[in-house]
């Protein structure tokens, strides 16, 4: 990869092919058995080095399951995850260990993801203890202090416990723990949703700054379309375990072609009373269908204003409609034409 000064085609650092994560659910009754809950049902994407892929969708769309599936924190039912040329899909816990240095995760609930009985110094140092046991205690402490300083925590707080910190500071601890091994990819699973508005901006700037300094790739999972627009290069919209639209940042927000993406963007309140009160909004009817009993054909058809017979019969494939823009809808052209946002 380093051979040419400018390689014409950029090799993805991560390739995800047709991954599926099904959870077996027990059914009750005389002829009980298990049926699969299809949390992630065949998702593909590539991620470049230094790129941020935003994954958006509503609760139950499978976005967190996708993130965990990629990191092999959940067992895949099918599909391949190729990390820098190696298929890591289905590797055992032990086999995964050598990749864990490069693949890290930041969780949503900052306090719950920290062990309350460990000092924050020990929490941040734990990945080092596991992966670099040869380091001396001094070297470890020094690295932890440097990282604390980088994420905006005072190094002299190294012996304090998580409960002594506010939500925003706890999330900085989570970021430091993920960063201490200098990983290449971090999955950020709703890293700011539990934080106050004024603190969200601090953490987002921190994550972006680290990405620039260390050339990180990010998979940024969030339900907040404003934040995803701000931080991502490319965005994938998930609905009921399926990718319905994937596009670069500009295209997705300026020219969304899936009716669901359009509805999702139009539903986000804008902090401007004139725009907000005048805005035409696509209000979707109904709720997310149960993933245990998904609709036939297109998963979105039960709430789609454009749905017709074909949508019930045939599941639309994710098709390339432009370089950097894929959409899974039979009638995307119609959706594009009558877009109101």
């Amino acid at each position: 990869m380093n051979s040419g000064a400018q390689s014409p085609v950029k090799e993805p650092i991560l390739s995800v092919r047709n991954i599926k994560v099904y959870f077996p659910i027990q059914t009750a009754g005389l002829f009980s058995g298990t049926i699969p809950l299809k949390a992630v049902d065949g998702v593909d994407f590539d991620l470049l080095a230094g790129e941020t892929l935003g994954v958006v969708g509503e609760s139950g769309c499978g976005k967190s399951t996708l993130g965990r599936g990629i990191l092999q924190l959940l067992e895949l039912s099918d599909g391949n995850v190729v990390w820098m040329g190696n298929n890591i899909g289905g590797l055992s816990f032990r086999e995964m260990k050598k990749y864990r240095k490069q693949l890290q995760i930041i969780f949503q609930d900052p306090l719950a993801s920290l062990n309350p009985r460990m000092t924050i110094g020990d929490i941040i140092a734990e990945p080092l203890t596991v992966h670099y046991p040869e380091l001396s205690a001094e070297e470890r402490t020094q690295q932890v202090k440097d990282m604390m300083d980088r994420v905006g925590l005072l190094p002299l707080m190294i012996n304090r416990y998580p409960h002594e910190f506010s939500g925003g500071q706890c999330q900085r601890i989570g970021v430091a723990r993920a960063m201490i091994l200098k990983p290449k990819l971090i999955v950020c699973d709703e890293p700011v949703s539990a934080l106050d508005v004024s603190i969200q901006a601090q953490i987002i700037n921190l994550i972006k700054g680290l990405q620039e300094d260390f050339g990180l790739s990010l998979i940024f999972i969030s339900h907040d379309l404003s934040i995803v627009r701000h931080i991502s290069h490319r965005i994938m919209v998930l609905y009921l375990g399926n990718a319905v639209e994937v596009a670069d940042r500009k295209r997705l927000y300026n020219n969304p072609c899936h009716p669901y993406t359009q509805a999702l963007i139009s539903a986000v309140p804008i902090p401007d009373p004139d725009l907000e009160k005048a805005k035409q909004r696509i209000v979707l009817q109904g709720d997310l269908p149960s993933p245990l009993n998904p609709p036939s054909g297109c998963v979105f058809r039960t709430r789609c204003p454009l749905a017709r017979d074909l949508c019930a019969r045939e599941k639309p494939r994710l098709q390339q409609i432009d370089p950097d823009h894929q959409v899974a809808c039979h009638f995307w052209q119609e959706a594009q034409d009558q877009r109101i946002i």
Binding site: E58, S59, S166, G167, G168, Q169, D196, V197, S198, I199, Q200, A201, Q202, I204, N205, K208, G209, H223, L225, S226, I227, R229, H230, I231, R249, K250, Y253, N254, A263, L264, I265, S266, A267, V268, P269, I270, P271, D272, P273, D274, L275, E276, K277, K279, R281, V283, L284, G286, D287, L288
Partner: protein, 320 residues
């Protein structure tokens, strides 16, 4: 004036000493209007309204005067308040699941309110409940009437909560983060519903939230709270176009917007939300304020009138 709150102070007695969650606030709500209340965790926005409803935790106590329709209601006994709550004013909460009784069918929870408060017969109570479930947009209300709360989705549960809050046609609905637990497409449905009901029933609403976008769409006036005090009060347009308190301005600027293609670094308010047990001597915002100067250090700024309908609590004459 439908609701008039004067010098409301709410204190909690904790093991670590007394905490003042709401500190001498004054505001009012006119009939039919929507007042937005913005603030971060610990700003006192929820505790202020729980005080008004008489729903404070056991270790809390509230002082001051609260007039509803001219009648002082702060400090009324539980029994007296029960004749007003749900009838004259109602409150809905963030998590609908914890506010509904999981062991009772929706039908019973709804009709109970009506027979208790209005002495309606079983038949009339059922009819009125069904009407309201229709009004809030629950499909096949008749079929769903005898279901338990867990059989509804989050959005539907919040609709049931709203229907219950409206059973007796209250003059004021206090909605505390009514859409925070919901998905954005469902949030759009619920906000539209609250706006529609407000105008159809000529009901005043208080909308408590941390989401400025939600406030922008629904409110007529806004008050911003910080550290237990009101720091700014203004008509919604004025607040968004020209915030006068550094905190309001910082909040507005630190939010990424879905209609903004800029991806430069976000403006940030430095520091942490205030610790109510260790508030600074002067202005509570001082550790995070870039405009702080000498008077801010030892004197809490009063909420003063800066034009006919705008108020701010800041020592700065004008925000640069």
């Amino acid at each position: 004036m439908l609701l008039d709150v004067q010098n409301l102070t709410t204190r909690f007695h904790t093991h670590d000493g007394e905490v003042c969650a709401v500190n001498n606030i004054n505001f009012s709500v006119e009939a039919g209007e929507c007042l937005g209340v913005v603030g971060e965790s610990g700003s006192g926005k929820t505790q202020a309204f729980l005080s008004i409803m008489g729903l404070l935790a056991k270790n809390g106590s509230a002082d001051g005067q609260v007039y509803f329709d001219g009648r002082q209601i702060l400090g009324l006994s539980g029994n007296e308040l029960n004749n007003l709550r749900g009838v004259e004013f109602s409150m809905i909460f963030q998590d609908p699941m914890t506010s509904l009784n999981p062991f009772m069918r929706i039908s019973r929870q709804m009709t109970e309110v009506l027979s208790e408060h209005q002495g309606l017969s079983e038949k009339d109570a059922v009819k009125r409940s069904l009407d309201l479930l229709d009004l809030v947009g629950i499909p096949e209300a008749k079929k769903r009437f005898s279901m338990y709360p867990h059989e509804f989705s989050g959005g539907m549960r919040q609709r049931v909560m709203i229907a219950m809050a409206l059973l007796c046609e209250p003059k004021l609905l206090i909605a505390d983060e009514p859409t925070t637990a919901l998905d954005v497409t469902v949030q759009a449905q619920i906000l539209e519903l609250i706006a529609r009901l407000g105008s159809e029933l000529n009901m005043a609403t208080v909308l408590i939230t941390h989401d400025l976008g939600v406030i922008a769409g629904l409110s007529d006036r806004v008050m911003v709270m910080y550290g237990g005090r009101i720091v700014e009060k203004a008509p919604v347009r004025d607040l968004f176009k020209q915030p006068q308190h550094p905190y309001s301005k910082g909040l507005l600027e630190s939010m990424p917007r879905v209609d903004d293609s800029n991806n430069k670094s976000l403006y940030t308010i430095p520091g942490q939300p205030p610790d109510l047990q260790a508030l600074p001597l002067g202005c509570a915002f001082i550790p995070r304020c870039e405009h702080a100067f000498a008077p801010c250090e030892n004197q809490v700024p009063d909420l003063v009138k800066i034009s006919s309908d705008r108020f701010k609590a800041c020592h700065l004459e004008e925000l640069p």
